[in-house]
Symmetry: C2
């Protein structure tokens, strides 16, 4: 058990979508949380509900740079280090691919060194993108993936694969206790409205009455996990003692096409916005669904929030967001 | 054309096996060469024939660290940057997996930044290991590979894949002209006697009369390229104007089993050393053969030194090496 008076949990990327929910959940369990974020894609407003908590501390810093003294001077107090630091949607991580690669490799390196020095347990948030455009379905952790290491998604996909490699080397050498979560598509409140991901795109476009963009013919599939389920999985994985030298898929195995998702969103929002089709991006995966047998067996975990329920909560949050940031339109 | 009075070629890893041959060939063409090496696996004796050349300069430095002032103060003079810096045999690159990963990612990053600042062309020595244990045969450049990103070879394989990703991002963004060579097994004089690779292992064991170690049953295949052919390929690739955003395989497509290689070595050395079989290492590829159609089409390149010829030259070199370093045995 951690002692909230003396022990600290570091959440790198804690101002991001999943990171901020994780910080909230850790605080709710009574922990003291240090959130590190460069606010590149994480947002200060995600921290609004956290900053008033005396056990919460925010440090603006980039994990690519050496860790700030405000972290290193308390090295001995860290017990858990969650690394969620990296832009995670293609338009965002492709905007500066060099920084994306360094965030994953050099950032993970800095945090692994901290974990070693503090004897903290380290959790890497990896990604279903390590499977690339998968040839097998669903994806088990033993599948080695189909990633184009020379393409425009490689800065993220290969950066995460490299970070996994380094994390497991630390574990093999006994330098740190390591957990690796391969996170599949996740959605919920506090998603970035402009991050280019399909759930936020569709909901924001439907709510705003703008054109709704579908890439390809909409037959590509995704599996969407509600953020509270994902945070629960990450925390269980971090606290699990039985994982060994293996990554663990976390995601919702309920698979649906992008067209089916759109139908749900249109139904929930009552939107009649026009739909336009655009070409599929390069190396976009056609299908993606996690095999979560390992997570269920090792962590007793499975998603509990259904798609309809999760989308309702997400639409409600986006509706409030857009109302606050968009001037009211006067009907013609 | 480069001006040997003012223009410089940087060879990172230039004290290594292939690197030292490359330095020699560049000097023979009249170029001025700056060799950067940390002497981790590269060897000062590889530079013995080079150091007397007034156009050759050796700087002991690790590419993981910021480049030394002796390089950066001449940034504007570099025209070509060859990055061959990384331990390349499994026992060597697994000895410090963290350093192997950083050499590939951070080292390539430092050299790509130098290439951008100097408008130099950058060549990355990547590897057939990016294909992992391949499911298709022979390997074309478009094959995405079968790499275990969590295993003990991943520090090298994923490090190279990440370095390729970063190099092509520099090229896509117009930050540097980039060439990526995927180097298959290479052999010849100046191989490290103890690097654990099959050609040097077999020759040294045969010459010394010790037991000869075969991993597995010897049916796994490799394709061996003589070092002068490899250096020719690297230099042609660097000077090619038609490569685009694609990696290029360099290697000898003549495939043989390890047992067939052993038979050649025993025949050439007249050795009757006993043969012992050991288990195959984890993730050891079963087959490996380059498809070199792209190199032939773009560079007019193909290997010219046959296996028998190359092995003869290599055995002769190892025989001299061992005679110099091993005390003469008195027959019983």
């Amino acid at each position: 058990m951690l002692n909230p008076q003396s022990d600290l949990i570091l959440v790198a990327g804690g101002a991001g979508f999943i990171g901020s929910h994780l910080c909230r959940a850790l605080l709710d369990q009574g922990h003291s949380v240090v959130c590190l974020d460069n606010l590149q894609t994480g947002r200060a407003q995600n921290l609004e509900g956290l900053s008033s908590d005396p056990r919460f501390e925010f440090i603006e810093a980039d994990v690519v740079a050496p860790l700030p003294a405000s972290v290193t001077e308390r090295t001995a107090r860290f017990r858990r280090i969650y690394n969620l630091a990296c832009a995670a949607s293609p338009p965002q991580y492709q905007a500066d691919p060099e920084h994306t690669m360094l965030t994953n490799v050099v950032g993970s390196h800095h945090l692994l060194r901290l974990a070693e020095a503090s004897s903290a347990r380290f959790l890497l948030s990896s990604t279903s993108e390590v499977y690339g455009d998968p040839e097998v379905h669903p994806q088990r952790e033993g599948y080695r993936g189909w990633v184009n290491c020379t393409g425009p998604r490689a800065c993220y996909d290969e950066g995460k694969r490299a970070a996994e490699a380094m994390a497991f080397d630390y574990a093999r050498l006994g330098r740190a206790e390591v957990r690796v979560a391969r996170i599949f598509n996740t959605y919920g409140p506090q998603m970035h409205p402009d991050d280019g991901r399909v759930v936020s795109n569709l909901i924001c476009q439907a709510l705003s009455g703008r054109e709704i963009t579908i890439y390809g013919d909409g037959s590509q599939t995704r599996s969407f996990c509600y953020v509270s389920d994902m945070v629960d999985g990450l925390m269980r994985l971090m606290e699990s003692e039985t994982v060994g030298l293996d990554p663990v898929n976390l995601g919702n195995p309920v698979e649906l096409t992008v067209s089916e998702l759109l139908a749900e969103v249109l139904d929930l929002t009552g939107s009649r916005a026009p739909i336009v089709h655009m070409p599929l991006p390069i190396d976009d995966p056609r299908r993606r669904r996690p095999d979560i047998d390992r997570a269920t067996a090792l962590l007793g975990w499975q998603p509990r929030v259904g798609l309809r329920d999760g989308l309702e909560r997400t639409c409600a949050w986006f509706a409030r967001e857009l109302a606050e940031t968009t001037p009211q339109r006067v009907p013609a």
